[in-house]
Every structure is written in structure tokens, then in C-alpha cells.
Amino acid sequence: MHKEKFIEKVLFLLALSSITSLALITVFIFMEGLPLVLHTGLRNFILSSHWAPTRGYFGILAMIISSVLVTLGAMILGVPLGLACAIVLAEFSPPRLTFILKPTLELLAGIPSVVYGFLGVIWLVPLIRVYLGGPGLSLLAASLILGIMVLPTIISISIDALVAVPDMYRQGSIALGATQWQTVQRVVLPAAHSGIITAIILGMGRAIGETMAVIMVAGNALKIPTSILDPVRTLTSNIALELGYATGLHREALFATGIVLFIIIMILNLSATLLTRRR
């Protein structure tokens, strides 16, 4: 009896590991970054785009805007493509084909982000440079690569949402004379909408947090982009590019950049969780 109680306590402690890690991450990122935000002032930090850390300017507005634009761009490609795959796999494709296609598409998740970035540099960037102009390394290149990278997230969560719609709905609709597409469009998609929105939100989180691929294809220039062919530097690439050599206030500024990113991600995660719970 005594042993059982002890085991239960140990297991409970193990179960706290993920929450503890999350708490530690939050505490350390804020502890390292917050002093700088207080030092420069929130306004000069997030509403200025003057980033010259060695001279004491720590404005990250350009990076916030770039991160948001790159993420939106990724969604323009990733959402239709991902939803199309999910609808085909969950509704149209014969079971035997789905059995092959689903694990095949999941392989996209296994390709390392550095490989995506590398192929972006080799294939996509020259195409953009030659046919659309500009340096090639650009907001557009980053959006396209991220649009592909978010596919596994969007596809797998949307499929789960579509499969969870009861078959009776489909049968009822078909029995009323609707075509299969009408059924998908008017019955299945509306019934699965909260799951699909969750998929999109988590895909956004994935895109805004991606680092290595973006560093390789986005060009990393420090300004607010005026065209999709402009090179951009996102919040994530700013951290990764400079952490290697930053010291003192400069390093704190990178952690402060991390705080902004962390808050954005947590808001996205929280809304996804709330959506799922309501269902």
C-alpha cells in the first residue's frame, strides 16, 4: 500500500515535467529580456524600426511586420493547398489510396527545415530573381517555402476534423439529392469549421516560429518591406543571426525579441486550445 502511494507521487512529479519546462522557459526568457524592454521603453522597442544594437538602438518594428507578412504569405499558399489535400484524403479518395497517400504526405513533416531552406536557395530564389526581379532572397521566397512547411500541420489536423464529422450528415445530404461536392461544401466543411480554424492557427504558429529555412531564403535585410520582392528579416532570424556574437545589452535585446515571439505564439496556442475545448 505504502509503495503504491509512493509510485503515484513519483508519477505525478514526472507528469509535471512539461508544465515545469514551460514555466522555466517563460521565466528565463522574460528574466533575460525584460530588463532591456524596461531600459529602452516599450515604445522604442516595438514601435521603432531602428535596430543598431551596438549603438544602443533596439527597435524591432520592421521585424515584427516582416514576421507577420511572411506568415500571412505562407497562409495564402498553405491553407488552400493543405485544405485541398485534407478534403481529398478524407472525402474523395478511395480508402486504399488514402492508406498510401496519408503517410506519404506526412513525410513532408520529416524533411528538416534546413533542407527546405537549402532547396529554396537553389531552386526558388534564382527563379524569382530571373522572372520577377529583385535580389530573389525575399519576402515572397520565405512565404512560399513556409507555405509548404506548414502543410503537414494543416493537413493532419484538418483531416482529423473532417473525419470526426458523423457519416449521417453526409448520408442525409446525399439522400436529399446533393452532389458529393455540395455535401462537402455545405455540410461537412461547416460542421468541421472549428477544427479547420484550429489547423490554420497552429499552422500560423509553425510559420511565425520557423527559423532556419527563413534565414536561408529571406535575405535578412533590416527594413520594413515595401514589395514582396524585398528582402526581409523576421523576429526568429534576427535572434539566430546575432545570438552567436551578441553580448551585454545586445544579447538582452535578442531575448526581448524572443519575448515578443513567445507572446505571439502563446496567444495562437491559447486560441487553438480554447477552440478545441469548445467543440
Binding site: 503504491e4 509510485i7 503515484e8 508519477l11 505525478f12 514526472l14 507528469a15 509535471l16 515535467s17 512539461s18 508544465i19 519546462s21 522555466l24 522557459i25 528565463f28 526568457i29 493547398l81 485541398a84 489535400c85 481529398v88 484524403l89 474523395f92 497517400l101 503517410p103 506519404t104 504526405l105 513525410l107 513532408l108 520529416g110 524533411i111 528538416p112 527545415s113 534546413v114 533542407v115 527546405y116 537549402f118 532547396l119 509548404i148 446533393a178 452532389t179 458529393q180 461536392w181 455540395q182 497552429l202 516560429g209 520557423e210 527559423t211 532556419m212 534565414i215 536561408m216 526568429t236 535572434i239 539566430a240 545570438l243 531575448f255 524572443g258 515571439l261 505564439i265 495562437l268 487553438a272
Partner: protein, 278 residues
């Protein structure tokens, strides 16, 4: 004017199939491109020789060892934590506030981007605990990264074990813990293995975390406190600094193909396991 439903169905179905085909085309393009350019570089010498001249010449032996070493540390740390969490959630409590909180923590942790984990590992393990850029710092940070994967898959696997198994155990007078260790865990083992394999796959491809926790030292790591450059980090440095394209492709090919094989095996293992129990 309303379009004929049969025509619009035909148009939409074709469009959606076309988009799915395009996605599969991208995947195949990536795999073939990297394999065709990379596999010719992969010779026994490439795998077993140390890199020379920053990776311009020689092989990638030390990066393979570093990758294996760091991944092993991460898995050894994360597996007991993750499986323990899953056992607690499924066998020892009822659904309630506590389980919801734990699951929420795991979900949020899964959403934390790798660069944030890199920052965290850098400040806590490398700087505050004074471990420096090393295999241990990298492994510890990676363990946190893969923890949610192990929790989720183990939980799914343990839940798939039929309730009758447990009832039989209790009726024979076994304690809760005996039931878990002698019956539930052995039956859930294929599912748990899937989680561990997916974690290995995720660790192999990770770059941002390791760049700032394990460093980029090219020497063969011999202890937990040596810096180690993993294959993914090596590939990133070779490609980004234009050191050697053939060696970059070779590294990428080995990396990608091993991850794909691991993920496919994990997937089929889980499918077979779930089919047996449902």
C-alpha cells in the same frame, strides 16, 4: 445564373485532386533532388572519415557521432518523463483540472518554436549552469523539445490497451503498479516505441536548438561536456557558407533518408498496433 451541380462538382473535384497532386509532386521533387545530387557522394569513406579543412574535404564521421550522442541523451531523458506522464494521465487520475492542466502544458510546449528553446537552453544550460556548448546542453534542450511527442503517442498507445486486460489483473489481485508494468506497458510497447522513433526523427533534423546549445565544434565529441556539431548543423554551415556543395548534398541525403525511413517505420508500427487493438 446557377452552375449545374454536376459540372461544379466535376470542376471542384478536379481542382482539389490537382492541388493534392501538386503537393505530392513537391514532396517527390524534394526527395529525388536531394537523393540524386547527394547519394553519389555517400561512400564508406564519406561516412567513416573525419571532416578536414572545415568540411571542405574528408567525410562526416564526427558529425554522425555527435548526432547519435546528442539524440541518445535527449531520448534517455525524455522517455521516462514522457511515458511517466502518460501513465499518470491514463492510469492514475480521473479527467479533471489536473489532467487538463498537464495536457495544456504539453500542448503549449509542443508549440514553442525551436529558436525559443535554443534561447532557453543557451541561457540556462550553457551560461547559467556553466555547461558551455556541449552534448549535454544540447541533449537536455532537445529532451524538452521531444517530450510532448512522447507524451502524446504514449498516451494514445496506453489508451488503446483494452480495459479488460486491467480488469483481469485487478481480479487476480495485482496492484495498480503491477498491472501497469506487467500488462499495460508491455501491450502498449509498440505505440510507445513509435513515439520514441518520431522523437529521434525530430532530433536528427533539428538545427536552431543545437546551434546555440551544442555548438559547432567539428572534433569528435568524447564526453558529455564536449561540443558536438550534428549532421543538420554541419549541413547548414556547409550550405550557408558555401564551403562545399557536394559534401552539403551528401550530408543532406543521409540525413533526409534516415529521417524518412524512421518516420515511415514509426507510422507503420503505430498503424499495426492500433489495428490489433481496435
Amino acid at each position: 445564373m446557377r452552375l449545374n451541380p454536376n459540372i461544379s462538382q466535376f470542376v471542384m473535384k478536379s481542382l482539389l485532386w490537382l492541388m493534392t497532386g501538386f503537393t505530392i509532386f513537391i514532396l517527390i521533387f524534394i526527395i529525388i533532388n536531394v537523393s540524386v545530387k547527394g547519394l553519389p557522394q555517400v561512400t564508406p569513406a564519406f561516412l567513416l572519415e573525419e571532416p578536414h579543412d572545415m568540411g571542405r574535404a574528408g567525410g562526416i564521421f564526427s558529425t554522425i557521432v555527435a548526432t547519435a550522442y546528442i539524440t541518445l541523451v535527449a531520448i534517455l531523458l525524455a522517455t521516462p518523463l514522457g511515458v511517466g506522464t502518460a501513465i499518470y494521465l491514463t492510469e492514475y487520475t480521473r479527467e479533471g483540472r489536473v489532467t487538463r492542466m498537464i495536457r495544456f502544458g504539453a500542448e503549449c510546449l509542443a508549440g514553442v518554436p525551436s529558436i525559443i528553446l535554443g534561447l532557453f537552453g543557451f541561457v540556462l544550460f550553457v551560461l547559467k549552469l556553466g555547461l558551455g556548448w556541449c552534448v549535454l546542453s544540447g541533449g537536455l534542450t532537445l529532451a524538452i523539445m521531444v517530450l510532448p511527442i512522447i507524451i502524446r503517442t504514449s498516451e494514445e498507445a496506453i489508451k488503446a490497451v483494452p480495459q479488460e486486460y486491467r480488469q483481469v489483473c485487478f481480479s487476480l489481485g495485482l496492484s495498480q503498479w503491477q498491472t501497469v508494468t506487467r500488462v499495460v506497458l508491455p501491450s502498449a510497447l509498440p505505440g510507445i516505441t513509435t513515439g520514441v522513433m518520431l522523437s529521434v526523427g525530430r532530433s536528427l533534423g533539428e538545427t536552431a536548438v543545437l546551434l546555440f546549445t551544442a555548438g559547432a565544434g567539428l572534433r569528435l565529441p568524447t564526453s558529455l561536456f564536449d561540443s558536438g556539431r550534428t549532421m543538420a548543423v554541419h549541413f547548414y554551415i556547409l550550405a550557408r557558407e558555401g564551403i562545399s556543395m557536394p559534401n552539403a548534398y551528401g550530408t543532406a541525403a543521409i540525413l533526409m533518408i534516415s529521417i524518412l525511413i524512421i518516420n515511415l517505420t514509426a507510422y507503420s508500427l503505430m498503424q499495426r498496433f492500433l489495428r490489433r487493438h481496435t
